[in-house]
Structures are given as C-alpha cells and as structure tokens.
C-alpha cells in the first residue's frame, strides 16, 4: 500500500517536472502531451494589462441587461482576438448588491504592456444606432451664431429606436453602381429585420438617421417599408474608411457604450522577478519547515516531510491541470498553506506522543493519535475552507487568486495528512516498544 502511494506520488512529481519548461532542459523536444500543461501565470507575474470598463446600461431594460452584457463580452473578446493576444480574459462583472451596482467589464491582456495599444484595440469599436425623426411638436434647439447662420442641433431632431448594432448580422463593403462611391451594406438578424421593417413602415417619407459612435453618418429618407433587413450606409467615405468600418462592424458593434474606469499594466521584467522571488521564498520556506519537523518530531517528522512533498506535488499538478491562474498573492496563499499542511501532522503527532506517554504501546498510540486528532483537524480545516469560499465568492481578482490556492491547499493537506502520513507510519510496522523506538517517536531537541 505504502509502495503504491510512493509510486503514485513520484508519478505526480514527475508530471510536474516534465511539464515545467524552466526545470527541464529537454522541454522543447518532448511529446506534445507534456507541453500542454504549463503553469498559468496571472498578469502580475507574466506582465500585461488589466482594464476595467463601466458599461452604460441605462438605456437597456433591466431584464435584458444580462444578455447585453454577455453580448458586450463576446464582442470585446472577438476584437481582442483579432489582434492576436494570447489567452485574453474578458469577464463581465454584474452590478449586484456586492459590487455596488455598476455593470463592469474586466479585460485582461497578458503580454500587452502598452496600455495605449490595448485601449485602442478595445475602445475603437463603433457603436451603431438607428434613430428616427422626432415628432414635430418636440421643440428643436437652434442656435444662431455670430455670422447670423442658424444651426439646428441635429441631435434633438432624432430620437433613439431599439435598433442598434446588437442586431447586426453582417456588414459588407460595396461600391455604388453609378457614382463608384464606397458604401457599407448591412444585414440585420431576425430581430433586427423585424425592428427595421417596423421602423421603415412607420416612417415612410421621413428620415432615418444612422449614428456611429454618437454622430450621424447618414440620414437617408425612407421610401417604402424594407422587410428584408437590409440597409445601406452611404456616407462620404473614402474606400479605406469604408473598409475599416466594415471590419469593425463585423467584429461587432458594441451593444452598450462603455467608458474606461481603471487601467493597470505590469512590465514583463517586473513580473519575472516576482516569480523568481516567489519561488525562492517557497523553497526556503519548505526547507525551514522540513528541518524543524525532522529535528522536533524525528521519525514521524520525517514522514510528515514526505507527506508534505506529496502535498506540494499534488497541489502543483492541480494548478497545472485545472488550470489555476497563479498570481503573487496566489503564491503567497500556497506558501501559507504549506505551513497549514503541517498543522494536521503536528496535531496528530502531539496526540500520538501523549498517548504513548500515557502508557500505550507505539502501535496503539499511533492509532489513538490519528483517531483523537481527527475532530480538531476536521473542524479547524473546515473553518479555513469556509473562509476561503467566502473570499473567493466576494473577492476582487487578487483576493480570488489567494483564496483559490489557499482553499485547494487546505483540502489537499487534509488528504495528505490523514492518508499519506498514516499509511507510511503503519507501513513501517513498528510494533515493538523499546528505548530506540521511543526515542524516534518522542520529540524535542534534547534526548528524553
């Protein structure tokens, strides 16, 4: 039994080793299978940009906010993918009670350290709207400038309709047969087609304005109802402008307008040094703990160190397989969970010692130690798991990373302490109680 565990554990460790390019000089020459599982590093370690946008959903009905936020995410994702960013993460953060009511979009762009470039690639997406003429009795705002020219504020002339870029299926570039001018032809999806038919039907003889990013680009007059969901924008485009517009429209017009709230960029070198520092701290911490355990708890301590190595290997493998995105705070959580993993072992060993001191032989002492310590191991770890679940649920990305590694760590450590340590201790098959075995199982630096 102990042998099987030993082999399994080494297997897991081997997997972690094989899939880590920095540890393995032959990494490039290996089978593809091993290359599939690198550690996934968070932005603060790999370098990149983290952007938070606020989505203005004031114009969307509350029952549809969810779906338009999802649509917004899809569009931004497509845009970001167009620029070939590897593994971008685009998340919607719903404005609920906890986050204070704002609908937000969080965009993580690993490797993009130029914020300006990042903002451009996301923000320059056109917001397409169709507006109809306002009823005649709505007063129009007009201003007379100093040259005596009358300016009609075109914005107040038109009122918004439900038809926006959300309902666009496809945009294509065409050239007018007669004038050779470029124009952009739009095809709506089913809902959009119905809306457009409705709008054209009720507005025959009137103007329909096509707005792009809040400015009118074209104000054609409707001649008849258009039931097939096709519209044409023929502004005064240059061919290049028209082509660019088509590309942007196809990658998706934004269903709701967004504004940038926060940006964060981390240079690649900064991230790299943070990784090195984190790894160094983890190794040193592990060594210190191992030395302490062996000096203080002797034989059981040695086994605890073995269990701890198992624990580390299993946890790292989980990080790779899930995968868990590692951040500086996440590594912190992992390092602390190393300390916690020892806790269960310490509890059990202290209990064992006590039982042996009370006069049971070593075999019974080990048994009683595990049995009696179990309730406190269970209860104390449960409280840690509860804490990490709450943190994961409520937390900002940074806290989430910590909570995830910490919570996973506690779970795995419980497993490794009560199974691995136990199996090894029994596998040693120490039944005799004599001076030597007593020495092995007692504790302290001094000989007792």
């Amino acid at each position: 039994m102990a042998l099987i565990i030993l082999i399994l554990g080494s297997g897991v460790a081997f997997f972690v080793y094989k899939t880590e390019p920095k540890l393995n000089k032959n990494f490039e020459t290996q089978k593809a299978f091993f290359k599939k599982f690198p550690f996934r590093l968070g932005l603060d370690l790999s370098g990149g940009s983290h952007l938070i946008y606020k989505a203005d959903v004031g114009a969307v009905e509350s029952s549809e906010v969810g779906s338009s936020m999802d649509a917004l995410r899809d569009v931004i994702e497509r845009r970001v993918n167009l620029f070939g960013v590897s593994e971008p993460v685009v998340q919607v953060q719903r404005g609920g009670f906890i986050s204070g009511g704002e609908e937000q979009l969080i965009v993580d762009l690993p490797g993009v350290t130029d914020v300006k470039q990042a903002i451009d690639m996301i923000g320059k997406t056109p917001f397409l709207e169709f507006k109809i003429e306002a009823p005649k009795d709505v007063p129009q705002t007009a201003t007379i400038d100093k040259d005596g020219k009358v300016n009609l504020d075109i914005g107040s002339q038109f009122i918004a309709t439900e038809l926006t870029g959300r309902y666009l299926q496809k945009a294509t570039l065409e050239f007018d047969q007669n004038t050779r001018e470029p124009k952009v032809s739009l095809q709506f999806n089913d809902v959009g087609t119905k809306l457009f038919a409705q709008i054209t039907k009720t507005n025959v003889g009137k103007m329909v304005a096509i707005y792009l990013d809040g400015a009118p680009v074209s104000t054609p007059v409707v001649r008849e109802e258009i039931p097939n969901g096709q519209a044409v924008i023929s502004g005064s485009f240059t061919p290049t402008e028209a082509k660019l517009l088509v590309g942007r429209l196809n990658s998706g017009a934004l269903p709701v307008p967004i504004t940038l709230l926060s940006t964060q960029t981390i240079g690649a070198t900064l991230g790299e040094s943070a990784v090195k520092a984190g790894v160094k701290a983890a190794i040193l911490g592990f060594l210190l703990v191992a030395i302490f355990l062996i000096l203080w708890y002797r034989l059981p301590g040695l086994i605890a160190v073995l269990a701890l190595s198992f624990y580390t290997a299993i946890l790292l493998a989980i990080f790779k397989l899930l995968p868990v995105t590692l951040t500086a705070a996440g590594i912190g959580g992992f390092i602390i969970s190393l300390g916690m993993a020892v806790d269960a072992n310490v509890l059990i060993f202290e209990r064992m010692k006590e039982e042996i001191r009370k006069g049971s032989n070593i075999h019974d002492g080990i048994h009683a130690g595990f049995k009696r310590a179990w309730t406190s191991v269970r209860d104390s770890n449960t409280s840690s798991i509860i804490t990490s679940i709450i943190l994961f649920w409520l937390g900002t990305p940074l806290i989430k990373g910590f909570a995830l590694t910490f919570g996973l760590g506690v779970l795995v450590s419980m497993f490794s302490a009560i199974t691995v340590s136990r199996i090894f201790l029994f596998a040693l098959g120490i039944d005799k109680t004599n001076k030597f075995t007593k020495f092995l199982f007692s504790s302290g630096i001094t000989r007792t």
Partner: protein, 288 residues
C-alpha cells in the same frame, strides 16, 4: 491593554488608504541611464496639470509616482516627458521605461472598499455560525454560541493589534492600506480561528469524557494540552512567512509582515484570552 495602545496608534497615526480603495494612479518608472531629481519630476508633472504628485525613489534607478487617477491621455503625456527624442518641455537628458502603471477610478475604489468590508463581515458571521454548529453538543455548562462570540472577541483583538502596528509602521514608511492588507487581516482571522478551534476541541473532548472536575480545571488542562501544538504550528507558519518577507515578491512584503505579527498575537490570544473568557462567562452565569 495592548489593544488600547493599538487603538490609540490607529487613531493618532491614522491609516492611509491605498489607491485600491480611494482611487488614484501609481506609476513606476525606471531610469536606467541616470535619473533626474524628484523635484524636477514634480515640476514636470505640474506643467501637465498633475499637482500633488508624490514621487518616491525605488531601487537604484527607479521612481514610484503617486497621483490622482489619470486618464489615458494624461498617462501618455507623462510618458512622453521622458521618452527618447522627447518633447522640448520634457527632460531631454533622461529616458525612462515604464515598469508598471495603475490607475483606479474613484468608483472602482469605493467598490473595492465595499467588497473588503463585506468580506470581513461575512467571514466573521460564517465563523460564529460554524463554531455554534461544530460545538452544538457541548452546550453545558456554556452554550455553544458563546464559544462563537468569544472567538469573535478574541479575533477582534487579533486584528486590532496588527492594525495598530501597521498604523505605526505606515506613519514612518508610508505603507498604505490596500487589498493585500485586508487579505492579511482575513488570513489572520482564518488562522486564529483555526487555533481557537483546536483548543475548544480539546475542551469539548475533555468535557465529554465527563471527568469529575470543575469547568475551570477542564479548561486549564485543555489549554496546557494544546499549548505545544499551538506554538509549534505558529512557528512553522512563521518559518514560511519569514522567507516570503525577506525574499518574496515586493507586493507581498507587507502582507507577510502583518501576517507574522497577527499570528503571534493569535496564539497569544487563544492561550491567554479565549480560555479565561470561557471560565469568566461560566462563573458569571453561575452567579446570575
């Protein structure tokens, strides 16, 4: 006593909120070929309309610049001050590479603050509920929810003291309360509860065993039975935290420091605080 001192520290020195919570911008620049004076950086920023910038040297060649939250345009203008072939208004002599930039709008900041407070409240409530549940069978002589309340009182102690020390620290080093600080407090909460549960578990076991002794003796015995474990486990966690502080990433330095302080007082409070409180509650009950 210590708590009073800590509270006084917290209020006299005050806690500086980091840009996480109040909004603002943090820019780290690296001048690999010699850096300008901090004053000249401040003057340059002022010429762009960015007043009240805090400029701190970092490392051998870098500067950390803290300002109000910046728009992307302002950010680019600042960068162009020290880019190669920079504008005449800038310092043509110096060249900077941007290492990191963070700008957090005030609304995001208040959202983060809100979340931080909420998560502390939720964790505390969940802990009371869990302890009440876990110790439901030991309602005599002290009701199980009282164990929960005692835990929370001692937790308050465990949190207030590191906060006080942090306030003192931040007075001299300019450290700010950020998400990681809140995270450290939450972790202290978790670990300290861990500790208290182990002691209470022993009390539970000894009470169940039903030996004829008074409550106070049971508690005294349980505490001394778990003392070695409590100290050892705190030691091991401190063993991993010290390297994290000394060699770990810059971002988690304050985190590990606060955590170490909190752990120390956590053990102290489970041994010398939680148990006497239990006895005190029991005596008080008998009297009433």
């Amino acid at each position: 006593m210590l708590m009073v001192v800590a509270v006084i520290f917290t209020f006299t020195f005050g806690l500086k909120l980091g840009i996480d919570f109040k909004g603002g911008a943090l820019l780290e620049l690296d001048f690999s070929r010699g850096r300008p004076e901090a004053d000249s950086i401040q003057n340059n920023l002022r010429s762009l309309g960015v007043t009240q910038a805090l400029v701190q040297p970092t490392g051998e060649t870098g500067y950390l610049i803290k300002t109000r939250d910046l728009t992307e345009e302002e950010h680019q203008k600042i960068l162009s001050l020290w880019s190669s072939g920079s504008s005449p208004s800038g310092d043509g002599k110096y060249e900077a590479v941007e290492k990191s930039f963070t700008s957090i709008g005030p609304s995001v900041g208040s959202e983060l603050a809100r979340k931080a407070i909420l998560s502390i409240v939720f964790v505390i409530v969940a802990i009371i509920l869990f302890i009440t549940f876990a110790f439901r069978k030991v309602s005599k002589p002290v009701a199980s929810w009282k164990y929960g309340i005692i835990t929370i009182i001692t937790l308050l102690h465990d949190i207030v003291i590191p906060t006080g020390i942090f306030a003192l620290l931040s007075h001299y080093t300019g450290a700010e309360v950020d998400t990681l600080f809140v995270l450290a407090l939450l972790t202290i909460l978790g670990l300290s509860v861990h500790d208290k549960i182990v002691v209470f578990d022993r009390i539970r076991e000894n009470l169940k065993a039903g030996e004829k002794e008074n409550f106070m003796d049971t508690i005294g015995r349980s505490t001394s039975q778990t003392i070695v474990r409590s100290i050892n486990i705190t030691l091991t966690i401190i063993f991993v935290l010290v390297p994290l502080y000394l060699f770990g990433p810059e971002t988690t330095k304050n985190f590990s420091l606060i955590l170490t302080i909190g752990l120390f007082f956590g053990v102290y409070s489970s041994l010398f605080f939680a148990s006497p409180l239990l006895v005190w509650i029991e005596e008080w009950q008998n009297r009433g």
